[in-house]
């Protein structure tokens, strides 16, 4: 079924009786060409691009819970390509270009809204670093705009310019950045993959790998064994647990990132705003809630919940830059488990086991990467060679020293 304004009108006039299922609920087959573990954003987009770009449709996506129940359903919905390093920036810019055509491509309104993202600048050193980053973005074909405090004041008069502990000296905009309706991204990919013949299988938990003589032949699941020519892990947040079943130790720790939403409000914020002297970033959803977050809790955990100190730290950051939100109420908080990698950057790579592939380590930047991650992973799975924008996202980079450490925090995952 093709979605359109006309279809909505027609159904409205005829009692909304003609809508059909967005995706099938297939039973798993005994064997596939490719089995993708994880029906989150990245797994679904991998399946979608495998089918659409590489013509591979004998593919199953195995999801332990419900579609999009991982971090695609528990993030702060920001999309951007404002990275610094050559190992990252071309990849995220590729992702941004895919975002820009996503809805027309998938025939699903994921509410990709290029409302801009702003990083506030509070010190000269920070400005120097942002200029370096902005220029890297330009060199990779992205956009960036440096503004001073006076310009900001015109555009965002509600920020605290007069009384701030860390005065705002300017900001770096990426106007093409913004937000997308996170769940709808998963649904759009699921529907697109399903309609091309991919089996998207919910409530199917992988419980083990069939590995013989250094080769992965398939997986054990809660619904029986499934053979596959290639098995693709795509379970960021649970990478440690799943990879352990294949006997792998990863350069990853699992941490929780909390996110928050306020009660619904009439239009308050135009785009995404990021505090530069504390942990706080915020945007407003189309429903009106302020969606905001900050730093990870900082200790290893697989629990999808966090603790109070970070809640307070985030709200302090919010009040520090925009004291007009004091009377907005925090409505709901939730936690997502992140694959925090050793240099803050992800992996899209083969493993040392033949036929077993790995996608993970997204830290808390996985949402914006969803399209490119799927595309590049599909490329790797289909051609057995990395996509040109993802050549450095290798598992062996800590052995060679080819680090992708955007923040320069070193091998301590909770600092990235």
């Amino acid at each position: 079924m093709r979605y359109s304004g006309f279809k909505v009108l027609w159904e409205g006039l005829t009692g909304n009786k003609g809508w059909t299922r967005a995706w099938r609920e297939p039973e798993p087959k005994a064997e596939y060409d490719i089995v993708i573990i994880g029906g989150g954003g990245h797994g679904l987009s991998t399946a979608y691009y495998l089918a659409k770009e590489f013509g591979l449709t004998n593919v199953a996506v195995l999801e332990k819970g419900w579609l999009g129940s991982g971090n695609i359903g528990r993030n702060t919905t920001i999309i951007r390509s404002n990275y610094l390093l050559p190992g990252n920036e071309p990849f995220y810019e590729f992702s941004m270009k895919l975002w820009e055509n996503l809805e027309q491509d998938t025939n699903y309104n994921s509410m990709v809204s290029q409302r801009s993202i702003l990083n506030l600048i509070h010190t000269d050193g920070q400005r120097d670093a942002f200029v370096r980053r902005a220029n890297a973005m330009f060199l990779a074909g992205a956009d960036a705009e440096l503004v001073d405090a006076a310009q900001l004041k015109k555009e965002l008069p509600f920020l605290d310019y007069e009384n701030a502990r860390f005065p705002i000296k300017g900001g770096l905009f990426q106007r093409r950045g913004g937000t997308a309706r996170h769940d709808a991204v998963a649904w759009g990919y699921a529907r697109g993959a399903d309609s091309r013949g991919v089996d998207v299988i919910q409530n199917c938990e992988v419980t083990g790998f069939q590995i013989e003589n250094g080769r992965c032949l398939g997986v054990e699941t809660s619904r029986g064994p499934i053979r596959a020519k290639k098995v693709a892990m795509c379970v960021a947040g649970s990478s440690g647990r799943v990879a352990a079943m294949a006997g792998m130790r990863l350069p990853i720790e699992s941490h929780v990132l909390q996110a928050f939403v306020s009660e619904g409000l009439k239009p308050t914020l135009p785009g995404v705003i990021t505090f530069g002297a504390g942990h706080f970033y915020v945007s407003q959803s189309d429903k009106g809630g302020l969606v905001f977050g900050g730093d990870i809790d900082g200790y290893n955990t697989y629990a999808q919940r966090g603790n109070l100190p970070v809640v307070e730290d985030v709200c302090e950051g919010g009040m520090a830059i925009m004291p007009m939100i004091g009377r907005a109420r925090l409505l709901r908080s939730w936690g997502g488990v992140m694959d925090m990698s050793m240099d803050g950057s992800p992996f899209i790579d083969k493993t040392h086991i033949d036929g077993l592939y790995f996608n993970g380590g997204w830290c808390y930047g996985g949402f914006k990467a969803t399209p490119a991650s799927g595309f590049c992973y599909a490329h790797l799975l289909a051609k057995d060679e990395p996509h040109p924008t993802a050549t450095e996202m290798r598992l062996d980079r800590f052995m060679t020293g080819n680090l992708i450490d955007e923040k320069g925090m070193g091998n301590q995952p909770n600092l990235h």
Partner: protein, 95 residues
């Protein structure tokens, strides 16, 4: 969270700074033949278990002790807290 400090009693985890897996105590021999491989594994690879986890916390806003805390990463239940110095000695570290 609350960490029951072996010397000072229960303290809010907000007084502490987290480092990570207590395996970081087991720093390899820099002169070993495979020192690079060992340091790669020490510096970068983690068990990252879903369950019991021995981990290092530093009582920065307290007595400056490094502690080894045994905590469940699924429930957050803490079952043991030891001074890291004692643990390090038990694991054979000296000068």
């Amino acid at each position: 969270m609350i960490i029951d400090h072996p010397l000072l009693g229960p303290r809010d985890a907000a007084e502490f700074v987290y480092l990570g897996d207590a395996a970081l105590i087991d720093r390899p021999d820099w002169q070993a033949d495979d020192a690079m491989e060992q340091f790669h594994s020490y510096g970068y690879l983690r068990d990252n278990p879903a369950g019991q986890h021995q981990e290092l916390w530093y009582h920065e806003q307290g007595d400056r002790s490094w502690l080894v805390v045994t905590r469940n990463t699924v429930t957050h239940e803490i079952t043991a807290v030891e001074l890291a110095r004692d643990v390090a000695r038990k694991r054979g570290r000296g000068k």
